[in-house]
């Protein structure tokens, strides 16, 4: 069964376009307006981070955003509820860490996402071998679990990852944690190409995609991009209030235009 996240991304690809999925930290300032602004500016789906105290896959920008959100009292059930009450207009996926899911209970967490209308989940510290209990719960609730595929994986592992991934496959563009880089890593194109060879799922490259130019470059091969730190850094600089929504709209709009222009 194909879920709403995969459906939306395939629709963009089938129409000859490239997929754009911005990331925003939940609980950071007026985050709901940031999510809505990203969707309105041309995102095909929006990834919402549920902040965790120990985000090992994240670099300094998302760490800072997470700390600020936690200090402001962000917690998973409230964020998920709020997302559920929000009209976003495109599918959403949450990105968070295993312990927040485990603490709530795998099944309860998956059900709460489904009840809030969240399409997908990305859990970067649950690699393929540990997906069992989570995927069972997520599949049961109808939540699409997006798996990450890293440049270090041998071919046979990539095949197993794409077979278990739902929604899209998240190609990790480089060896490293989330954050902006001045140039596109060669590894981003390589991992995208390797994944395209083994799957028909949309292949989106994330980690280190910082500018519209880099997005266009990697989309010579990939089906789309996930853009996180570049967006969140601007949200932080703009004070993370409702005014930051305009900054989000501008940046997401510039990625959209560049990708549409090819």
């Amino acid at each position: 069964m194909v879920g709403p996240l995969e459906t939306a991304l395939r629709a963009r690809r089938d129409a000859g376009g490239k997929c754009l999925v911005p990331y925003l930290t939940g609980g950071l300032g007026e985050w709901v307006t940031h999510v809505q602004a990203a969707a309105a500016a041309g995102a095909d789906a929006v990834e919402v981070g549920i902040p965790f105290s120990d985000p090992v896959m994240d670099g300094p920008v998302i760490q800072e955003a997470s700390e600020l959100a936690l200090r402001a009292g962000a917690n998973p059930p409230d964020l998920i509820d709020e997302l559920g009450r929000t009209e976003v207009g495109v599918p959403t996926a949450v990105m968070t860490y295993a312990n927040l899911v485990d603490r709530a209970g795998w099944t309860r967490f998956a059900s709460s996402l489904a009840a809030a209308g969240v399409a997908g989940a990305i859990l970067p510290d649950i690699p393929l071998e540990e997906t069992g209990p989570w995927c069972e719960a997520a599949d049961g609730a109808g939540v699409e679990t997006v798996l990450l595929a890293a440049p270090t994986a041998p071919d046979e592992r990539l095949e197993r990852i794409v077979a278990r991934s739902r929604g899209f496959v998240y190609a990790v563009g480089l060896l490293g944690v989330t954050g902006e880089r001045s140039t596109l890593a060669d590894s981003a194109v390589v991992i995208a190409r390797r994944l395209k060879e083994v799957t028909d799922l949309p292949v989106l490259v994330g980690v280190g995609i910082s500018t519209p130019e880099q997005a266009v470059e990697v989309c010579g091969v990939a089906d789309g991009v996930v853009v996180g730190s570049a967006v969140v850094r601007r949200v932080l600089s703009a004070g993370a209030g409702a005014a930051a929504a305009e900054v989000v709209a501008d940046l997401v709009g510039s990625f959209r235009s560049a990708l549409d222009a090819g």
């Binding site: 120990d54 090992v56 936690l70 510290d125 270090t152 944690v177």
Partner: protein, 393 residues
Amino acid sequence: MAAAGQVMGEPDTTGRFGEYGGRFVPETLVPALAELDRGFRSAWADPEFRGELDSLLADYAGRPSPLTECHRLSAELGVRVLFKREDLNHTGSHKINNVLGQALLARRMGKSRLVAETGAGQHGVATATAAALLGMECLVYMGEVDMARQELNVFRMRLLGAEVTPATSGSRTLKDAVNEAMRDWVASVEHSHYCLGSVMGPHPYPWMVREFHRVIGSEAAVQCRDLLGGPPDVVVACVGGGSNAAGIFSGFAEDPAVELVGVEPAGGAAVGRGVPGIVHGMRSYLMQDEFGQVLEAHSISAGLDYPGVGPEHSHLASTGRATYHQVDDSEVVDAFVLTSRTEGIIPALEPAHALAWVVRERAALAGRTVLVNMSGRGDKDVAQMMDVLADRI
């Protein structure tokens, strides 16, 4: 190597001891952990590797460490107390056992750079030492708060040629240093080895690090047989991540008559006050809030300031094979002074936790023989204790 079916044997194929352990890490690291697992198995089965490690442990680190019968402390407490003297190892603690093993393994696997986290600085100093010995590059992450508390060890590491980088996020202590080390490794995995300092983290670390510390328990078992004609009644060790405890427990765990006791700081009692969770690559007991955010630990000892615990300890606790108890900072300070004055041994604040439990339980332990793992010496803590004891000494 431990055979399957033992109390402290190999974890299962998913890297679990019972339901604890596993490999909860970013996808990027999974192939590296699989490679490390294969590399360790191959090295551990290779007599040449074992021989080289044994030589370093003997000729460089000073093993075997002695077993000391503590006559005056025993008389004071009414309990026969023995110390396993890991404090006499080169670099001042048990940490060197693991670090020499991992550094040799890293070199064998073609890695030229060691990344490590450190709390009090003992593991960082040990790693910097091994890197200097083997001519490897070394970067140690240390919480900004701990760097201020343990200035001397920061200088030691730098003197040994290591780079020390502050962890400035979160609580800026040991758990954040682990986060930074893991982030570094995600980016540097092709040429770096993450030299993890305790029996924690993703598989194979909890098992591998315990095997590198098994020498503590193996030596102690022979030394106790020579001295006592058999094992002690109780084996006690402090537990932060739990490496020194795992090492000494492994020498006695197969004998059900020997009681195994782990002692946690009251402010960092993962087993005592935590619930199972997932952080730093493992499922284990963890101090966390109702939503799963990891709590900050607070202890007089920077080396035990950790909200989690190695997964094998969670398993030993859940099966009841070992019991875990908590002592507070003031009990630790008293034990620190008592041991200094009765035995002429200034303990590190970490093993002073184990001693504090023996002191508190002396009535229940009367007439029994207790082996305490003296996991490190107190030199690093003397400056801090000058302030704490300003009114008493």
